[in-house]
């Protein structure tokens, strides 16, 4: 240790007026795991994309083993021994493991593929690092954890000396994450240097040797990790910059009136695989029921079924006593169900339209927005002015296109639209993902306010902090099954275990 294999000095990157990285320094020592810590949007991924040649920095210099380099492309980064495992895997699902590894090998002066040679090497690497990867498997048939190992093998194949992992545990169960850490230690022992992008304090302390903390695009801290000494609270303070308020004042929910009732619900996903397995739960008036789980355990399908976007296989869904099992999105919409989808830019908003039109996507056919045969722009704009004020949407005018709003303000537009009709049931999916802290707290406060006003809220989230801040009851989902429904006072540990599929026969709350 002690020898810096990589140094980044004074890196700046601007998107429009916003500084994603502002004069950031970063130094990686050989054979270490270096945590890169920060909230969503702190600039971690931007910094690493600069290193990997995906983004061109607006300022700063990169040194590899002391030599200044400019990296224009991923190909060049790979030649320099840099490998990256992206958060969204960069694997072609219709190809085999071997074919994916062969992609971009850049060996061939001779342009023919040599699968058997590659296969052999994959098997060697797989054994050496205990990765357990079948070179002939089709990517689309592998689990998320296996796909991640394919990514690591690809990097190793390229003789990577600097391996960047972008939020590698975000999609893994705790057990899979532990396996990953074993792999990382093996890599370290073989002299590979690892950058671990994360916003999870525990894992940084568990695996990293050093940590660099970013906040709002700026470097706010660097420290060596000592498992005995380093405290989560210190890192957290650096990362967040202020105390996280865990206390939203909540009124005690008293109603026992069921808004939504789901019985024995089974659903298949696009590939015909069972995504929901006999799910049963209820949402009451004036409560927040959180669906906690690692991404990809059926949450997406659940939201789609509840909003009529997907056909259930079997089971029954009732809303205020009405059977909506086979209802269309329109019918469900008319039964006062509001929905804030996970991917707000693709499913929630029309980015090329202005705020006022986006606010009436669901009710522009009704009065007062349609008068007689025609739409009334005046009414739409007036309603929009009110919504902009009520939800504190930062904009000069309601004719601003939503693509020109920040993520937080886009989310506010969706909330304003969905809450405009006084819903009985509010379904929100990852409502604060990618938002800044201010917007995050605002969104959570709205959820609480609606709960207090008697709305039944179904909150799908992978963010335990969010869940414990807001939820009255927590339903843990694993592999499309209900692992249990618990009160928040069981503690984060317990819920975390359940998310990993560990059953302990927990009684229903």
């Amino acid at each position: 240790m002690g020898e810096a294999i990589l140094q980044m000095k004074g890196i700046s990157k601007f998107f429009g007026d916003m500084a994603a990285n502002d004069n950031v320094n970063f130094s990686l020592e050989k054979g270490t795991v270096h945590g890169l810590l920060g909230e969503n949007g702190a600039g971690k991924t931007t910094l690493m994309n600069v290193l990997f040649g995906l983004l061109k920095p607006d300022g700063g210099t990169i040194f590899i083993e002391g030599n200044p380099v400019t990296i224009h492309s991923p190909a060049q980064a790979m030649e320099l021994g840099i490998g990256m495992v992206h958060q969204h895997f960069m694997l072609v699902p219709t190809m085999t493991v071997t074919e994916n590894v062969m992609l971009g090998l850049h060996l061939p002066k001779f342009p023919l593929l040599n699968p058997s040679l590659v296969k052999q090497r994959i098997n060697e690497l797989s054994q050496q690092f205990a990765l357990d990867v079948d070179p002939d498997a089709l990517i689309s048939q592998l689990s998320v954890g296996q796909q991640q190992r394919v990514e690591i093998i690809t990097a190793l194949y390229h003789e990577t000396t600097i391996l960047i992992l972008d939020e590698p545990t975000a999609v893994l169960t705790p057990d899979e994450a532990k396996e990953l850490f074993v792999i990382l230690r093996t890599l370290k022992a073989h002299g590979t240097s690892v950058v671990l992008i994360s916003h999870k304090l525990e894992e940084i302390i568990a695996i990293a040797d050093e940590v660099t903390v970013l906040r709002n695009g700026e470097l706010v801290g660097f420290t060596k990790i000592d498992k005995e000494v380093t405290r989560k609270e210190d890192l957290s303070a650096m990362m967040v910059g202020r105390e996280v308020s865990f206390d939203f004042k909540k009124q005690k929910g008293t109603s026992m009136h069921e808004v939504l009732s789901v019985r024995e619900l089974c659903v298949n996903n696009e590939r015909g695989v069972q995504a929901l397995d006999h799910m049963t739960f209820t949402v009451r008036r004036g409560e927040i029921l959180a669906i906690a789980g690692v991404d990809g355990n059926g949450q997406k399908e659940l939201c789609e079924v509840l909003t009529g976007l997907r056909q259930p296989g079997s089971g029954a869904i009732t809303l205020n006593g009405n059977d909506i099992t086979q209802a269309s999105p329109k019918q469900i919409n008319e039964l006062n169900v509001a929905y804030v989808p996970e991917d707000r830019q693709k499913s929630g908003l029309i980015m090329d339209w202005d705020i006022s039109k986006n606010l009436v996507l669901k009710n522009f056919r009704k009065k007062p927005f349609t008068k007689g045969l025609f739409l009334s722009k005046k009414e739409m704009d007036e309603a929009a002015e009110q919504a902009v004020e009520a939800f504190k949407i930062k904009t000069d005018q309601v004719s601003t296109l939503v693509k020109n709003l920040s993520g937080g303000n886009q989310q506010k537009v969706i909330l304003a639209r969905e809450l405009a009709t006084d819903p009985d049931l509010l379904i929100v999916s990852h409502p604060t993902r990618g938002l800044d802290i201010g917007a995050m707290e605002y969104v959570r406060s709205i959820l609480i306010a609606k709960r207090n006003a008697g709305v039944g809220v179904l909150l799908v989230s992978a963010d335990l902090e969010e869940i414990f801040q807001t939820a009255d009851r927590i339903l843990v989902i694993y592999n499309g099954r209900v692992m249990g429904i618990v009160n928040p006072d069981v503690g984060i540990q317990k819920v975390g275990q359940m998310m990993a599929g560990i059953t302990t026969g927990e009684a229903h709350a």
Partner: protein
């Protein structure tokens, strides 16, 4: 296809400008092509202009031709706004014409009734044909580009078969054409000595109707489906139904164009009735920025090119294909222009999430 390069803009001077620049650039390139071919650009353009506007008759011809082009293009624009690439204006026009003529030559009814009945029949045929195309897209996921294209050929052969076979005028001396529609049913001539007919007003009404349609909720729905199917779905819109409706509406316009032409100028069916109207309509819709009023003006412009092109070929000996070249070039510059616009607007006010 995700990116719609055409922006659906309100008409204003700043929105008119890109279209004008596209036309201008196309003319510049055409000039080079003419010089390359050894023709005089001056002769070409003056003949084009004179051929289209030079005397009352030619001017009237420009309007006569503009009618079907505009009406088909209105239909094209409806589909394009929903990001449905209906490029089969020809077949839909032909279907309208066939039905219109069939009603008129086979039914023995008072002229007014025939007129109305043929209108309804053409409208219905267009709606049905379009629904069929829409269903293929919505239910079977058949690429509409390919299906509409193939139907252009299929319907062209159908027309050919009809005029050589079952619908051939028995007293026509074996010419491949049908009997004539009774004179009393035909659109009246507007000006003596020209072919300009009252169908012009029908076209104008259609322009206004479509203009108003875009201000209705159903119009907004079509635009919404064009921008984002997933948002439309989540907002409770039945996307499949909208696709079928959009294609039906789109084809209905083209079929009505066929009806107008049948009762306005042709009076009968002949082989290869639509010529290149369908592809010209695509250019017109794009140059008109998918806006009904823009389409009306760009239809007149392209009609002038085509009418003028004939004169140019006759008097200056410059091949008519020059007009096709100009059409192709105009779309290419429209494409380049809209990309430039988008890049420009991004620079002015885009924000990114890190």
């Amino acid at each position: 296809m995700r990116n719609l390069v055409i922006k659906q803009a309100r008409l204003g001077i700043q929105n008119l400008l890109p279209s004008l620049i596209s036309v201008l650039l196309a003319c510049v390139v055409t000039t080079f092509i003419l010089l390359l071919g050894g023709y005089s650009p001056v002769a070409a353009f003056t003949n084009l202009f004179a051929g289209a506007f030079g005397n009352p008759y030619r001017l009237s011809e420009t309007f006569v031709k503009a009618i079907p082009i505009a009406v088909i293009a209105l239909g094209t624009s409806v589909a394009f706004r929903a990001q449905l690439w209906n490029i089969g204006g020809n077949s839909q026009y032909t279907v309208g014409a066939i039905v219109a003529v069939a009603v008129n030559i086979y039914l023995d009814l008072p002229p007014l009734l025939l007129f109305l009945l043929s209108f309804l029949a053409a409208l219905l045929a267009g709606l049905l044909f379009g629904s069929l195309l829409g269903l293929m897209k919505a239910k079977l996921n058949a690429n509409e580009v390919i299906t509409t294209l193939m139907f252009d050929y299929i319907v062209a052969f159908l027309l050919s078969w009809l005029v050589y076979g079952p619908m051939m005028d028995p007293e026509g001396g074996g010419f491949p054409q049908t009997a004539l529609i009774p004179d009393a049913v035909m659109f009246h001539k507007l000006l003596a000595g020209t072919r300009l007919h009252t169908g012009l007003f029908v076209a104008l009404v259609l322009v206004i109707l479509l203009y108003l349609f875009w201000k209705t909720p159903q119009g907004l729905t079509i635009n919404m489906v064009g921008h984002s199917k997933s948002v439309a779905k989540a907002s409770g819109i039945n996307v499949s139904k909208t696709i079928v409706f959009t294609m039906a509406l789109s084809a209905a316009f083209a079929a009505l164009a066929g009806w107008i032409d049948a009762l306005g100028i042709h009076g009968r069916l002949q082989d290869n009735l639509p010529g290149t109207l369908g592809s010209v309509a695509i250019v017109v819709a794009l140059l008109g920025r998918l806006h009904p009023i823009g389409i009306a003006f760009s239809a007149i412009f392209f009609s002038a090119l085509m009418v003028g092109g004939n004169t140019m070929q006759r008097f200056a000996g410059i091949p008519f294909s020059l007009v096709t070249i100009i059409q192709g070039l105009v779309i290419i510059f429209v494409i380049c222009g809209s990309v430039f616009e988008i890049a420009h607007s991004r620079k002015q006010g885009g924000s990114h999430d890190a």
